[in-house]
Symmetry: C2
Subunit: 292 residues, 2 copies
DNA sequence: GTTCCGCATGAATCGATAG
DNA sequence: ACTATCGATTCATGCGGAA
């Protein structure tokens, strides 16, 4: 079966209206945070963040498969010495829209942004909010449980000497992580805490989250040939991982350069390129990269 | 100077009214979660949790020193497949009361509850919400600094011979300056993620959090002879740690047995016991354990 | 070919300065 | 007064060049 990767250039709120109902199995995205990335996305003011996001989440609710899942990566910033409340307000409003707030995973960032302040430590975690349409949804726990062993083992292999030591470093907590507990385990049940480093030094661009993050959720919530959507594609980490894992991928981004970059990233791994017009817009047909 | 430990038996909402304004430097507590365990604290229904807690947080706001801190350990339960929203609603309401929501620390539990569910993984984290009265508050960051990763040390070791010489010879050069900055760095500041194990089996009682947790916050937000309050004392972890660290401790609990247990725990470590009547209640004088 | 080190770089935050 | 911008602070990570 063919695996497709489609990239749409434009405003998510509008482009999403062109997608059919119940057509996406997993939505995973990291929208621009409030007041962040001003140079690229314009920066949404914290007071207007919820109002800005709700029309988009309304469309996401429509296009999601009833057994599908929406994973939202977000973290509130500090304003005048306080954590902002717009993420909490967003959750409350999305529930009024009909979303179920199933779970909150924690992404514990190994390498967080440095800095020192008189009243605050470095922020080393972000939220991964899980929303669903129904109480019953697809969840392939075994897929993560088996790789969880691999996940830990491969991490241990790759991290090798230096990083075993680094992991034992007490930075980030007073209490070192006991890696040795994991070594003899073939299988481990994952929890709702993910412990990954950011890939801050990618070749051309910087991704907002490491590939391990979408990989984990794609394994957990989808199977092969399912469809995955990222309405704030950015550098395209979600799409590229989905494509590699033989899932159909759809991405939307308002920034033309990002669309170009992701296209180029996807091209080398495709074995068969087809160009086809997408019907929703006659004046500026989007390119649909289809991968065999 | 004498270190005191006072235990009050009764309802927090009422007992707190007896404490003077601005008299506590750190409040750290883990209130009963909204759940169905009606045999312990009466089981507050999730819908009424906020309404139940607000009169207490109002008193806490009053008794807290303007430069003090309130650390609230809490985690929402799952109800009908969804995470409840009462914690978020509580934060929003407490801000209306005048609290500043300064930060949210994550307690990553190394060994969380076992279990398996079809639509959910084990919950391995809890919130540690930091509230303050003012943007300026006492914070002794150096007290919780932690050894840096072996990475820096190994580099410095290897560098040491040649680069120390270089440092001496090239006085004032940028290179030498850099090295000298690194040499004194054997410690780093922690982040807002704490990673420690739960103490699963204490002798008779089960503590809601391990001693390392209050210890860390007591170091961070208080100095010796400061006063620490736990309005939901339970098995008294906060009090016992505070007492050991030479801070004055105050605890309130509605369950008489808990008060007895904590008294017995405190007794062995005191060197001088005085009984004195507390003036606020003539009919049933509370015991005040004073430790030299 | 390894291993080792220098360097750039982040979805950060505060406080001071400037308009 | 109130907002916008800037410098200072800090540390894990990967890459490229050196030993």
């Amino acid at each position: 079966m063919q695996i497709t990767a489609e990239i749409y250039h434009g405003d998510s709120k509008e482009k999403l209206k062109l997608l059919p109902n119940d057509s996406v199995d997993l939505i995973m995205t990291s929208p621009p945070y409030a007041d962040q990335r001003k140079n690229t996305y314009g920066g949404i003011h914290p007071d207007e963040y919820v109002k800005w996001f709700l029309p988009i989440s309304e469309q996401l609710l429509r296009v999601l498969n009833p057994a599908g899942t929406f994973v939202l990566n977000i973290k509130e910033k500090v304003i005048e010495g306080e954590r902002s409340t717009y993420v909490m307000e967003l959750i409350l409003e999305m529930r009024k829209q009909g979303w179920l707030w199933t779970e909150e995973f924690i992404w514990h960032k190994k390498n967080c942004y440095p800095g020192k302040w008189p009243n605050r430590f470095r922020d080393a975690w972000e939220r991964l909010l899980q929303f669903n349409k129904n109480r019953k949804f697809n969840m392939y726990q075994e897929e993560v449980m088996v790789p969880m062993g691999e996940w830990a083992n491969s991490r241990l292999k790759n991290l090798s000497e230096t990083d075993k030591i680094r992991d034992n470093s007490k930075v980030g907590s007073r209490f070192g992580k006991n890696i040795s507990n994991w070594i003899n385990r073939d299988k481990a049940y994952p929890t709702n805490v993910l412990h990954l480093a950011t890939e801050c030094n990618n070749r051309n661009h910087s991704a907002v989250f490491p590939e391990g993050l979408p990989e984990w959720f794609i394994k957990l919530f989808t199977k092969e040939n399912d469809t995955i959507l990222d309405p704030f594609m950015g550098s395209g980490t979600t799409l590229i991982v989905a494509n590699r894992m033989r899932r159909n991928a759809m991405g939307i981004d308002i920034i033309s350069d990002y669309c170009q970059i992701v296209r180029k990233q996807l091209k080398p791994i495709e074995s068969n390129l087809l160009e086809q017009k997408v019907g929703y817009e006659r004046t500026e047909p989007e390119r649909s990269i289809t991968i065999c």
